[in-house]
């Protein structure tokens, strides 16, 4: 197990290196310069490029960047006069808080709806849930976000729509962000759960006279959840990247908003730094999910 984890971490580092290198090359291939703005003259741009080392050959910039990275330095933002580490440190808590809340919510509600869809005998409930599940996967988060804002913020005036200053402020962004993943998880749970209830061991358990509750939670759910838990890895990634639009709409000071702005502004160091950060987050999330799977199902052995 420990060997497995170490191996996965090493692979993770190689993946991260490939990600950084690729992003570095791509970012520098993007046309446009971070300093070309309407109100800067040519000589001012030259001075700035010199100050930030952008006049050096690209391979040299790459080496300098990698060296700083090994020291944990992600560089200085060209646009903000602030280190990328600081930008991440002040933005990430909000993004992660909203992302994890949305994720926890989607897991709990998604699995519940999934099981419900599977066990209910009422055709109406089934259809309603199915309609939601279809809607949830097909409507993008920003549309949901704008509608939630309009209905609950503007028309009903029940919840605030700007920022995250009180717990109530979390309601809309978290709901908007969880809307899609809930549907995906529900659909997934429904199919795996239905499949699991038809297995031989369920008939065996019924024959043994176990209570429905015991059958459901101890036998069926445990087996039905493995594909769902496997999906959690990408789901965490999804809730974090999904926050890019949600943060823009609800004016949340997270890294998503910062990231999108950095791309339009050609703020190379911020784009790179955030890619590294999010990449590392996803690698770790996937690892944790794999370990979780092996805990749920001992048949999955974490060797090589």
């Amino acid at each position: 197990m420990l060997r497995y984890i170490i191996k996965r971490l090493l692979v993770g580092i190689v993946t991260l290196w490939a990600l950084i290198t690729l992003t570095f090359i791509l970012v520098h291939r993007m046309p446009g310069s971070p300093f070309e703005a309407e109100n800067l003259s040519g000589s001012a741009i030259e001075q700035l490029e010199k100050a930030y080392g952008l006049n050096e050959p690209e391979w040299k910039q790459y080496l300098i960047y990698m060296e700083n990275l090994l020291h944990g330095e992600l560089g200085i933002s060209y646009k903000k006069n602030i280190s990328v580490n600081t930008l991440i440190a002040r933005g990430a808590p909000y993004t992660i808080k909203v992302g994890l809340l949305a994720f926890a919510l989607s897991a709990v509600i998604g699995i519940t709806i999934g099981i419900w869809m599977s066990v209910t005998k009422s055709q109406i409930v089934k259809n309603i849930l199915l309609a939601y599940a279809t809607l949830g996967v097909s409507v993008p988060a920003f549309v949901i976000g704008l509608y939630l804002m309009l209905v609950f913020g503007v028309w009903l005036n029940a919840v605030p729509v700007v920022g995250l200053s009180t717990p109530l402020h979390y309601v809309l962004p978290v709901a908007a962000q969880a809307f899609g993943p809930i549907a995906t998880i529900a659909r997934l749970t429904k199919s795996t759960y239905t499949e699991a209830t038809q297995m031989d061991y369920v008939i065996m358990a019924k024959a043994k006279g176990l209570s429905t509750f015991q059958i459901m939670f101890r036998h069926v759910l445990k087996n039905a959840l493995i594909p769902v838990v496997t999906y959690f890895g990408p789901a965490i990634a999804f809730t974090i990247t999904g926050s890019f639009v949600i943060e823009q709409i609800f004016s949340i000071p997270g890294i998503g908003r910062e990231f999108t702005n950095a791309i339009t502004n050609r703020d190379y160091t911020v784009v790179l730094g955030f890619s590294v950060f999010i990449g590392a987050l996803i690698i770790v999330a996937n690892l944790v999910v794999d370990i979780l799977c092996s805990l749920i199902d001992p048949r999955i052995k974490l060797t090589d």
Partner: protein, 547 residues
């Protein structure tokens, strides 16, 4: 069902984060507090762009600084609505006859909010730091009217030769290289705003990033009391401000917001009391006193690459320019747009006559004339557009620019029989291509830095750094040079009108297309809406709340 889980959801969310959060108090939705004397505490909540740059007037200037400037900086003078200058930190100025020496007398009671006097050294502190090219300030060139400033910036002269002299603590003297008729206008630009001579000396330092609030002293109507990065700035009334009686509000909170739909929603929920909206609210608020529209002084136009075929032929340029029905283009963009045949923003107020620029000009510069356009095209060797080379129009991929591009494309096709290729680009790429001259026709827009037509017109003089299409028109250069030395305002404006006419309707350097109106939503109890004519926006600092 859905309602139920929504309720459950809110409860779960609220409960689970209540523990981990400390709520920042004082949201705008709260009921108004009262002050010790029983009067209502007056607070306005509006928006600001995501910060970038610093608060150093001599450092990296971006949106954040402009927000800050609206509340917490002081200038020698500011432009009043009627086009005259209102003294702020200065109480008077002596100007010599040939307008090359300006001696400002700073008010005796002008102080920083830590009690220190505002002195000439504070202005000197900003100006000298902004003449170091490493400061990253985009406005350094606005100092070049001052004697030797450019040479110092270029490293060719010593700072001691600079034409700025601190005669005594309260007297500041500028010696200009040549007469600069718009020099007073420049005084509200970042590089002329004082920074504290001992506390604010490190360019782009920690103090300018809101990390050292003790050093971030203010000599303006408000001071920055609270700052949470990427979230909000809270400006509180500065009781030591020289003209404090002009200021009625107790605080202004600016929230970092960018998405226009989100801003409109937040206004509707009451989280904002004053917001910049867009055309989408024009219908809904049509008869509401909350809707305010102001003519913007942004000019939208298209540049020709005058040095490359086919647009090196002035006849082709003229054909393209007069084959456009500008009102139709404006209609395609939204109700708050109008066509313009002027390069300078139509509604810029003239300091010579107090009229708007287009009124003062007395007539349109271009006519919509399809027949003549076709004829010109035929004379240039392309009858009915036959044999016309493939040309591309480059523009940033925003909604507005796409609307303009499609309207122009349709008209050129219909009126001239020429299919212009459209290329939507990311903004940074578009700027890059324009700067490098890599285009046939390129979109451009300009917002004045100060309220003088010179800031538009100077760009296309053959020697100017911003002359992106490298247009070189001798007659135009000549008129502009004359205007620069003309000390009589009326004559100077006449020269500039004439220069614009040459540029737009004789040389056809590009195509003026539209101007827009800025759309605002503001609570109707917000009164005392003073306009800043140099940007044609409402000066939030002077607002008052009617009780």
């Amino acid at each position: 069902m859905k309602k139920l889980w929504k309720k459950a959801l809110s409860a779960v969310v609220a409960a689970s984060i209540a523990a981990g959060l400390t709520a920042c108090g004082g949201s705008s939705g709260e009921t108004a507090e009262t002050k010790a004397d029983g009067s209502a505490y007056k607070s306005v909540t509006t928006t600001m762009s995501m910060e970038g740059g610093t608060l150093d007037s001599a450092g990296i200037i971006s949106y954040w600084w402009w927000t800050y400037n609206g509340y917490a900086t002081g200038s020698l003078v500011e432009l009043a609505e009627d086009g005259t200058f209102k003294y702020i930190l200065a109480e008077s100025v002596d100007i010599n006859d040939d307008m090359t020496e300006y001696t400002f007398h700073i008010r005796e009671d002008a102080n920083w909010n830590n009690g220190d006097a505002v002195t000439s050294e504070d202005f000197y502190n900003t100006i000298t730091r902004a003449l170091d090219p490493n400061c990253g300030n985009g406005y350094s060139s606005m100092l070049f009217s001052i004697e030797n400033a450019q040479a110092i910036y270029d490293g060719e002269a010593d700072m001691s030769t600079l034409g700025v002299e601190c005669v005594d603590e309260k007297t500041l003297k500028f010696t200009l290289a040549t007469s600069t008729p718009y020099f007073m206008d420049l005084l509200t630009l970042p590089v002329y705003i004082p920074t504290h001579r001992t506390l604010q000396t490190e360019t782009n330092g920690a103090w300018s990033m809101g990390e050292d609030m003790d050093a971030l002293v203010s000599c303006g109507p408000f001071y920055l009391a609270e700052y949470v990065p990427n979230q909000y700035c809270l400006f509180k009334r500065n009781d030591t401000y020289v003209l404090k009686d002009d200021i009625k509000l107790d605080e202004v909170k600016t929230l970092a917001m960018e998405d226009t739909q989100a801003i409109i929603s937040a206004y509707k929920t009451g989280e904002l009391t004053f917001a910049q909206a867009d055309y989408t609210v024009l219908g809904e608020y049509k008869d509401s006193p909350e809707l305010v529209t102001l003519d913007s002084i942004v000019s939208n136009y298209e540049l020709f690459n005058v040095n490359k075929a086919p647009f090196d032929d002035v006849k082709v340029r003229e054909a393209f320019s007069i084959a456009i029905d500008r009102d139709a283009v404006a209609a395609a963009c939204g109700e708050n747009y109008t066509g313009s045949t002027f390069f300078v923003a139509k509604k810029l107020i003239s300091k010579a006559s107090g009229k708007t620029w287009d009124e003062e000009a007395g007539g349109e510069l271009l006519e919509y004339n399809v027949e003549k356009a076709k004829e010109l095209l035929a004379q240039a060797g392309y009858p009915n557009g036959e044999g016309f080379p493939a040309v591309t129009y480059k523009y940033p991929s925003t909604q507005l620019e796409s609307d303009i591009a499609q309207a122009l494309q349709a008209q050129w096709k219909e009126n001239l029989g020429i299919e212009v290729q459209l290329e939507a680009q990311e903004t940074q790429v578009n700027i890059s291509d324009r700067r490098n001259g890599d285009f046939d026709i390129c979109r451009m827009q300009w917002m004045a830095d100060f309220a003088d037509p010179f800031t538009y017109l100077a760009m296309y003089m053959s020697t100017d750094a911003y002359n992106d299409n490298k247009c070189a028109c001798d007659a135009y250069d000549e008129l502009m040079n004359q205007s620069m030395t003309e000390t009589d305002t009326t004559k100077r404006y006449e020269l500039m009108h004439e220069a614009e006419k040459v540029l737009v309707s004789e040389y056809f350097w590009g195509i003026p297309v539209i101007n827009r109106q800025q759309v605002y939503l503001m609570n109707d109890n917000l009164v005392n809406r003073v306009i800043d004519p140099s940007r044609n926006t409402i000066r939030t600092k002077y607002l008052d709340i009617q009780e």
